[in-house]
């Protein structure tokens, strides 16, 4: 501001300044005015000439998003008391008394970089630019918040939420029309919070400022935690079906190494919960809120193995193919009496995946396109088709589905060299 500088120079020369100049100085410092001496034009008006978009342009939607011009605030990079003349002003940019000494006014050497730095700052200003996100911290997409981690919820009293992590599942900028006119813009955030060991919760929050909405959402989620029972800390206990509105979610338990094969929101939620292997099929609208609600509902409704053993009055046993089908007893009924084969009616459904959804309808077999299917009735009468495996034949290497069935004799002769010698020679009477 040239006026202020000239006053200071006058002071140095030992001159005085009149009250009127002081008044003007304050006025001018406040207003950021370039004194044309005829037209003092405020900065806002000057910038408007550079930035503004015409009425027609505004109707078309120009000058709204990224890349639009912004007014450069020339005060940035400057502090009151520091200027082109590098000087110590006790009371302004230095204390009056330092220790025992009284600080004197002192002219320091000129700062050659000051102007260059100011210009650097001013060069960076002027356009709307999205902040660059570290690739490791990205969500599902580069600049958007969906899938981005936002840290643990804020501590409440003694609860510090150690080991917790939250992830944004939905970040929407929404608006509604206010009664007194004009749009009211808010940010809506759906997030999930959890410790990776089965404790998790989700919540929705809306706030005008984005940071406020994010922290509100994760804190609210932290107040709505549920304990989800997991199997070996990597997957759910059993298959289930669950529903929220018309969004249906068919969830299948998977072995180690399978990974999370599901909607990206559920994938993020599972990582937070601590589920590592899962398969989910969503039927109906894939609205993120409904999907997450349905999923959590199903997780809460899981039945423990002990519960199922009591309900059925039978042992719950796990058979693993890679462990030679060794019968590992997961739960045995303690209170309920153990039933024998004669106690079980012939119609009773003993299929674990259907029983877990507490639907005790009989199993039906059905031919569809010449293939045998077993209809499983999953929760609420929804039908799931599961193909019935062919009974294994004597010779394991039968031709696969697509090929024409060969005459047995020709087949045996053809595959003789690669097969079990003794068996084949016996069968062909060589």
């Amino acid at each position: 501001v040239p006026v202020a500088d000239s006053c200071i120079v006058n002071l140095l020369k030992g001159g005085t300044f009149s009250l009127r100049v002081v008044r003007n100085l304050r006025f001018y410092l406040h207003q950021n005015v370039f004194n044309y001496s005829v037209f003092p034009v405020p900065a806002q008006k000057l910038w408007k000439g550079v930035i503004s978009v015409s009425k027609h342009g505004a109707q078309k939607g120009r000058g709204r998003g990224a890349g639009r011009k912004l007014a450069k605030d020339l005060n940035r990079g400057q502090v009151i008391g520091v200027g082109a003349v590098n000087m110590v002003w006790p009371g302004l940019n230095a204390p009056i008394i330092r220790g025992q000494e009284v600080v004197q006014q002192q002219m320091l050497g000129p700062d050659p970089d000051r102007h260059r730095k100011l210009l650097e700052i001013r060069d960076k200003m002027g356009r709307v630019r999205f902040r660059k996100v570290n690739p490791l911290e990205r969500g599902w997409t580069g600049t958007k918040m969906g899938g981005k981690k936002i840290g643990p919820p804020d501590p409440v009293g003694n609860d510090t939420f150690e080991g917790f992590e939250s992830v944004v599942l939905e970040y929407k900028v929404v608006s509604h029309m206010r009664g007194d006119g004009g749009k009211f813009r808010r940010v809506s955030v759906l997030s999930v919070t959890g410790d990776g060991m089965g404790l998790a919760g989700f919540a929705l929050a809306r706030a005008p400022a984005p940071n406020t909405a994010l922290s509100m959402s994760k804190n609210r989620a932290g107040q709505r935690l549920i304990k989800i029972p997991l199997y070996n800390n990597h997957t759910i206990l059993h298959d289930f079906h669950s529903q929220s509105g018309i969004t249906e979610v068919f969830v299948r338990k998977m072995p180690e190494g399978h990974g999370l094969v599901c909607h990206r929101a559920l994938k993020a939620a599972c990582e937070i919960i601590g589920i590592k292997d899962l398969h989910v099929y969503i039927k109906g609208p894939k609205n993120v809120r409904e999907v997450v609600k349905a999923f959590f509902l199903g997780l809460m409704k899981q039945k423990s193995y002990q519960q199922l053993a009591e309900e059925k009055g039978l042992h719950v046993v796990e058979l693993r193919k890679e462990q030679f089908n060794y019968p590992k007893v997961l739960a045995s009924p303690v209170h309920a009496p153990l039933r024998t084969l004669s106690d079980i009616p012939p119609n009773e459904n003993l299929d674990f995946s259907t029983v877990t959804t507490s639907c005790l309808l009989p199993i039906e077999l059905k031919y569809i396109n010449d293939k045998l299917y077993r209809i499983q009735y999953v929760m609420g009468d929804r039908v799931m088709l599961k193909p019935v495996e062919e009974p294994s034949s004597i010779l394991p290497l039968l031709p696969k589905k697509g090929r024409q069935p060969e005459g047995r004799e020709t087949f045996l002769r053809k595959y003789k060299e690669r097969r079990n010698f003794r068996r084949v020679s016996e069968l062909t009477n060589e």
Partner: protein, 381 residues
């Protein structure tokens, strides 16, 4: 060439083979012409030659070990029911180890079922049978004989195929490898049975087994094997050896003896518990009378029952020894072990005697504790 083939046919028809194949074992690569079975007619223009390369060696040699079963035959002793009972008992059957997930098997979704008590018992019985199968021990047999029988001598065939031997292999279906007829016609006109190495090579060509290498695997060389064993991977090496060799091969017995010796030095016997290799390992130690480390290890831990079983095994395998003669009461474990230590370990190992003393102390203190507990309970009730 046609005359040669016809001569071979006349010879083969005499020996009455079905589906013969001629193969040469050269020192340098050569083209070989196979001829199909004596029943089939062949056309001179329908030759399909294939090359037989000398074995890939990489200048590698299997480890050698002196303690192989070459003098006395261990097979009758190994097959003895009492011996096998002791070995099985000592091996144990820890289901979590026997049925553990092997690294190379892919994981599938576990099947969860509802079982009644009867169904569960049936499943557990099946598991027991499977466990027995998984714990079936690789046989301990004498090293195969090097001498081979001569069949005939035909001076008329001398020098027909200079520089090469001709090997006839019966590739009919349904014959196990060890019973297959493999004969060799030498340049001198002599027809003899194939020796061990030739048999092994022929079987490898006509009946390759999955996992068996046709070259000397670096694992079994003196360069590599000590490192692997230093890491404690005894079971892995023994499994690989069972896959690669036949039990009567001298190479197999050398490798296996090397592994047992390394195991014995470090006293890592427990790494083979509940595996199929524990029995043969124990048999080896008892047969070759290398029991000092074993007894020391188990007596220090207070495992008197194991020590006594092993001494009983010793008596079964060395029935004419002093220990077997001096043994009076087989039912008392302390007496059994004491007899053995006093007769065999007095001169050789002071550590075993010390271990026995330690064992006695341990048992005494255990008894004392039990007495005190019983007394306390008696008083309170």
């Amino acid at each position: 060439m046609a005359l040669l083939e016809r001569t071979f046919f006349s010879l083969t028809s005499k020996l009455n083979f079905k589906g013969m194949r001629h193969i040469l074992i050269p020192d340098t690569p050569t083209i070989v012409i196979p001829v199909r079975g004596a029943k089939q007619k062949y056309h001179p223009d329908s030759f399909i030659g294939f090359r037989v390369e000398p074995r890939e060696n990489h200048n590698r040699q299997y480890v050698s070990h002196p303690l192989i079963y070459k003098d006395a035959d261990p097979a009758p002793r190994f097959m003895d029911a009492r011996v096998r009972a002791i070995l099985k008992d000592l091996t144990g059957c820890d289901h979590s180890k026997v049925f553990r997930h092997r690294a190379l098997l892919s994981i599938s979704a576990p099947e969860i079922v509802f079982f009644t008590d009867e169904q569960l018992k049936i499943a557990q019985n099946d598991a027991k049978i499977k466990a027995d199968k998984l714990l079936s021990m690789p046989p301990v047999v004498k090293v195969r004989a090097e001498e081979v029988q001569d069949i005939s001598f035909d001076p008329a065939l001398q020098g027909i195929m200079p520089n090469f031997k001709i090997v006839f292999t019966d590739i009919s279906l349904g014959i196990p490898d060890n019973k297959r007829i493999i004969v060799v016609r030498e340049n001198s006109g002599k027809l003899r049975h194939a020796n061990g190495a030739e048999r092994q090579r022929m079987n490898e060509i006509y009946n390759p087994r999955k996992g068996r290498k046709h070259y000397v695997s670096e694992l079994f060389t003196a360069k590599c094997l000590p490192d692997v064993l230093a890491r404690g991977q005894y079971e892995f090496v023994l499994d690989r050896a069972c896959l690669q060799f036949e039990p009567d091969e001298p190479e197999y017995q050398s490798v296996v003896a090397y592994v047992y010796e390394a195991l014995d030095k470090k006293q890592h016997y427990d790494s083979l518990l509940s595996t199929r290799h524990y029995g043969p390992m124990l048999f080896f130690l008892v047969w070759h009378k290398c029991l000092n480390n074993f007894l020391e290890h188990h007596l220090m831990a207070g495992r008197l029952d194991v020590a006594s079983q092993v001494v009983k095994l010793y008596c079964l395998l060395h029935q004419k020894s002093d220990v077997a003669k001096a043994m009076t009461d087989f039912r008392d474990p302390m007496h059994v072990v004491q007899t053995f230590v006093s007769l065999e370990c007095m001169d050789t190992s002071a550590r075993v005697q010390l271990a026995l003393k330690q064992c006695k102390e341990l048992l005494r203190s255990q008894q004392q504790v039990e007495q005190n507990v019983a007394a306390a309970l008696g008083q309170s009730s």
